[in-house]
Amino acid sequence: MFAGLFAAFAVLRNNTYGGISMRELFNGPFVLAETSILLTSSFTAGLGMLAAHTNNKKLVLVWFGITFLLGLSFLGLEISEFSKLISEGNSWQRSAFLSSFFTLVGTHGLHITVGLLWMLICMILIWFRGLSERTIIKLTKLSLFWHFLDIVWIFIFTVVYLMGKV
């Protein structure tokens, strides 16, 4: 699915119809912050998994809690970026480029949101029921999902933001 969204974006990147282009979209420090936050959250999720396999319930909650907070800040940054664009009139209705931008990045953001919800539920589950083989399997799937979201973001960062600056 993400491949399709990326392909659409790549095809439509220059169809700006008078609206803003890729170049103006790029806010260096902002995007670097988003990327660092997500990358770190992928790291802390990994550390959470290590804690899970050493049966350390407290540490698991700590690491996944940090992952959750990082993910939330990432989402906050992304939402602020979107609302700024929309308030300037550059919504997905402005041009084909913007449509594909919002769809690609927005879908990723949606996945992040669902992942955060999933994470919250897992943490509550572990808080009340403790670690077991079943919960570790759940955590494993969650961390797999979360790692993949970071991987997709590497490409969004590169293709959407960095290439725009080129």
Partner: protein
């Protein structure tokens, strides 16, 4: 279903440091215009792919699993599909664009894209 966890603290730390480095390099090269044009595009794409592999290996432990290598196999087939979708779309749309422009667009085409029809 018994999963074997292949992770170690080291793999996560190394993976993290590598990813940060790759990201920062890409960022600085673009922001400071150290390269330009097609070379720049190729450079950051290559960095992104390297970071992809770094994350796949150090965070997701792909390739470290014992036989049979199901995870790796599935990954490779998916990457293949993704490449077909991406490269295929780009190729098709580029040629579609080229082949669908009307005849009287000659001077426009020449000016905009340097492509005589």
């Amino acid at each position: 279903m018994k999963h074997e966890f292949q992770g170690t603290l080291n793999s996560y730390i190394i993976g993290f440091i590598f990813s940060v480095l790759l990201t920062l390099i890409a960022y600085f090269v673009v922001v400071n215009h150290l390269l330009s044009g097609e070379l720049l595009v190729a450079f950051i794409l290559v960095l992104a792919v390297i970071q992809l592999f770094v994350q796949l290996f150090y965070f997701l432990h792909m390739g470290k699993e014992p036989k049979p290598y199901w995870n790796l196999t599935i990954l490779i087939s998916f990457v293949g599909i993704i490449l077909i979708i991406l490269l295929g779309s780009l190729w098709i749309m580029y040629h579609l664009n080229y082949n669908m422009t009307p005849q009287d667009m000659n001077s426009y085409m020449l000016k905009e894209e340097g492509m005589p029809k």
